[in-house]
Subunit: 356 residues, 2 copies
Amino acid sequence: MESHGGNIYKIAAKLGYEPSEIIDFSANINPLGLHPEIKEIILRNMELLPHYPDPEYGDLRRAIGESHNIPYEFVIPGNGATETIFLYCRSRRPKRSLIVAPTFSEYERALRESGSEIVFHELKEERNFVPNFHEIMDRVDSSFDLVVLCNPNNPTGVLCHGEELLTLAKHGEKFGTDLMVDESFLEFREDCQEISLISSDVPSNIFILRSMTKIFAIPGLRVGYAISSNKKLMEKMTLLREPWTINILAAKVAQEMLDCRDYLEKTAQYLKDEIDFFIPKLRRLPWLKVYPPSVNYVLLKLLTPMTAAQLREKLLSKKILIRDASNFKFLDDKFLRIAIKDRSSNESLIKAMEEL
Amino acid sequence: MESHGGNIYKIAAKLGYEPSEIIDFSANINPLGLHPEIKEIILRNMELLPHYPDPEYGDLRRAIGESHNIPYEFVIPGNGATETIFLYCRSRRPKRSLIVAPTFSEYERALRESGSEIVFHELKEERNFVPNFHEIMDRVDSSFDLVVLCNPNNPTGVLCHGEELLTLAKHGEKFGTDLMVDESFLEFREDCQEISLISSDVPSNIFILRSMTKIFAIPGLRVGYAISSNKKLMEKMTLLREPWTINILAAKVAQEMLDCRDYLEKTAQYLKDEIDFFIPKLRRLPWLKVYPPSVNYVLLKLLTPMTAAQLREKLLSKKILIRDASNFKFLDDKFLRIAIKDRSSNESLIKAMEEL
């Protein structure tokens, strides 16, 4: 588990800090924090705790369907998007899968667990990790059941156009190859709806993931969902699904917050402004290569003899936690990832880095 | 999912009731309801929602370990006991399993999903579903990787002695056979600690399940755990575990409520008294066979031409929901299960049944 963002509890305990003393740049959570409405939703629904959640999560699925103008039947909710990754893999049982990497590590874990052979399509550093769709399509043939791609990609921040992904999916259709697209960070962008593959006529070989955990800053509650128009796959997933995995408070929060458009707009606007402020300041550090962010995190590369692990240690002594990104496939010990946080935290990081 | 207790939301919607109007005897939740402290714990920890849970759930595991006087390393927490059933099956991958049935259906689902052949050991109605351990032991040989038994058993209510289970586990040891014992309802009893297999020297082939959902009336939050001294199994389970499945509020509630002994004692005492009141009244109905309850639910059999499904419909018209138990393996359409609830609900059920 140490493979993900920092286990801030363990780190704090080890260093003798309180978890709240540490500025956590390792988890990519909405910098605006918890919407005040969320606490009220939890208070309002406390009386539901002695009841099992609706095992079909009907209201939640209907709300998600309405919010995207897609049928209820296209929606499968999960305990975070992660549950739906594992559930897809157990249900579809891909024999051979192509993962476009470096990327989030749970695709590989879920696929390995369900017995898939895994091939990586390496995104090249010299191209700033921008995927070449011609190359990916050249590799896809009937030996692959699945291609996995994260958009925007974690940790590189590279954003692909919806058109490119649809072309790839269409190409895959010829070979019976699915395309899994993880849109967990897409809602941090104003143009989310233009780029998203979610639509009422989404091809049946596309499986789309959405997280609500990150955009609504509720990793402590956990909720996400997946979208597919593949009826057989959805039936299999419903059959294999473990019961009641989404707690009733998370389900209610998700259902009521889905259409909180003003919060989404405010977040996207805030990020645009903060990127304009923060990124030039990072770029002024001569020992750092800054990859262009598209959402709420930035990939960085150290241009000094120092490793990301060493930088992480140094910053930890200043109670700042960053993500050493060296354990992402195809990234070496010079790479790190940081979240874009509130102005004062971002300034603290800049200051700490300048002092190094 | 309809295979479990009632989906009260769906049923209420279908009949045009509010879910709160229905008296739900289909879910086996603590009749004392939510402990007031639980709301306070949630309020106190709301600020943690923007943080990922500790992926190792260190504090929770330590609290569970201390509460049972067992090492931290024996404890694996889950999103309900159910998560640990599925995780065990994926980690241990039993080739052939013996399920003592009728019983809770998720053992079978989890085992099938992980590819186990399943053999049922049928508990006989003419013996009131009391297991004969000699017969079970006679069947166990090296062809079985696992025996599954629920204690007390759901839905029969039959309680086994710890000694019998330890003898069975010792017998299994010779053949490399594990014993999974589900103690999800055991804490409803005063003598829980005497009967439980949880101890610091639990044999390594025993896997024990505990739910906190039922005893603390929090099926809307969901938390449970499993206990094993098998180091290799625990490592495999840790490796295969999906991250952050227990939300931070559930983890905090579980951690703080674990040692709420007065609530457990009050519950056990209440149930004893309520069984004394309720069961004789049920027994007075000449068309009903009442199996002796050991915890907070009762198995019933109709001695009339009416089926459990028909009785369920009739009671639903009086806004009372019972569990048609005919879909439990080896039970026919005459069986039903009801929870033991608060006095006034129990009286309503008696009255409704007398009127039939």
